[in-house]
């Protein structure tokens, strides 16, 4: 492999890292439900990823790798703060801003309730389900990102979805009924 392709590889990884900013933020927010904290996590993760871009041999695997860095940043931050987010805190954050015209909209309310249900999950389950659902990560990528075996990815996902189905299926039913009524 020539120097040119080595150089090109690092640049490709860096480009990929920069492109994953929105995905990282979405996932970071879904993990901690705090915009400021998510922002800090993403900033830190991107900084680390760019600094270490040369370590990654395969630009195709950037996604799993950056999510792993993000998960590590979250772990470090939690260690430092020693406070796994409390539910009350999450709820406060969800509703603290008060209703804006946007939030008056029913779909916002549903989004908030879905986020609450996600926030109630243990962190491990929350991480798996958000990587799979929000970023379309494969189970293998999730395993790589969180440094857990695929069997664990599947069992955490299973438990997360069971809990979410319990909370959200009635909500979906309610919503579908409202829609039907408004059509009639």
């Amino acid at each position: 492999m020539g120097i040119g392709s080595l150089f090109g590889r690092g640049a490709a990884v860096r480009r990929e890292v920069e492109h994953s900013r929105d995905a990282l933020y979405r996932v970071a927010y879904a993990w901690c439900h705090d915009a400021q904290r998510a922002d800090d996590l993403v900033h830190e993760a991107i900084e680390k990823a760019l600094r270490n871009a040369a370590q990654l041999r395969d630009a195709q695997r950037v996604r799993g790798w950056v999510f792993r860095i993000l998960a590590n940043c979250l772990r470090d931050q939690q260690r430092a703060r020693r406070d796994e987010i409390e539910l009350e805190e999450v709820e406060e954050q969800l509703f603290a801003a008060g209703p804006t015209p946007e939030e008056a909209h029913a779909s916002i309310e549903i989004a908030a309730r879905v986020r609450q249900a996600i926030a109630r999950l243990p962190l491990g389950q929350r991480q798996v389900v958000t990587l799979v659902d929000l970023e379309g990560c494969s189970y293998a990528e999730v395993g790589e990102a969180l440094e857990i075996p695929i069997g664990t990815v599947m069992s955490r996902l299973c438990r997360a979805r069971q809990a979410l189905r319990g909370h959200l299926t009635p909500l979906a039913a309610e919503q579908a009924e409202t829609k039907l009524r408004s059509v009639k």
């Binding site: 979405r26 927010y29 189905r165 909500l171 979906a172």
Partner: protein, 237 residues
């Protein structure tokens, strides 16, 4: 949650997440055809997945990020309405998550021609990109040629839906001439379009003229389930 034996919750998740290989995927798709409980359960998983996607489509912006985005209306509502009107199940776009052709699996067409004595092969195409359609036709042609060379009486059917239906549309297909030549050489190649995709295009005001001699199935899913029940091998191109 399902009465179907052997379709565990983990497998249902993997089905919805597109994590199954072609053989496992086909098994769930088949079971789905006869087990309403399983359909409902899969639909719930799908609904929850779409609700989660919706909830974080535009997360509140942090300090470094500009502005607060507008919230998009939830696509999950579509899945929710399917959930509560299961008659509409077959219209739901499950196809997006069918397994990709894995080059290492026995379901790769090239390997089929050489090593598998399956004579009924259904190829499902849902991607409309010129190159991927071209590749699918290459593989189908290899398969047909190899079978002819070895004297095997094979039948191959291409079923196309979503963007893949463009392959079969007169004046739209990027491979119209090639398809005509293939059909002229191989009478054992059948082409089937998804009726539901055609209807959807029609509703959007697009005129759908199919190439001559193409059959229309009620939907691609109906066709796949029917063929699987008849013992065909399912390959996703």
């Amino acid at each position: 949650m399902s009465e179907e034996p052997g379709i565990s919750e983990e497998m249902q998740n993997a089905f919805v997440d597109g994590e199954l290989d072609a053989a496992e995927w086909a098994r769930v798709a088949q079971a789905m055809g006869r087990d309403e409980q399983l359909r409902r359960s899969l639909c719930e998983v799908r609904t929850v997945k779409e609700m989660v996607q919706h909830a974080y489509a535009t997360p509140p912006a942090g300090a470094r990020r500009a502005g607060r985005g507008a919230f998009a209306a939830g696509g999950w509502a579509i899945a929710a309405s399917v959930l509560f009107a299961l008659g509409g199940w077959f219209s739901h776009a499950w196809w997006a998550k069918a397994p990709e052709l894995d080059p290492a699996s026995a379901y790769t067409l090239g390997r089929f021609a050489a090593s598998v004595d399956q004579n009924l092969v259904l190829v499902h195409i849902s991607n409309g990109e010129r190159e991927s359609l071209g590749r699918a036709l290459d593989e189908v042609e290899d398969l047909l040629r190899a079978a002819r060379d070895s004297g095997r009486a094979i039948r191959v059917e291409i079923v196309a839906n979503r963007q893949g239906i463009d392959l079969l549309r007169a004046g739209v297909s990027p491979h119209e001439a090639r398809l005509a030549a293939l059909r002229a050489s191989y009478a054992n190649l059948e082409l089937v379009a998804c009726g539901q995709t055609m209807q959807r295009l029609g509703e959007r005001g697009e005129r759908v003229n199919l190439l001559p001699g193409i059959e229309v199935a009620p939907s691609a899913l109906d066709e796949v389930v029917r063929r699987l029940q008849e013992g065909w091998v399912y390959v996703r191109a």
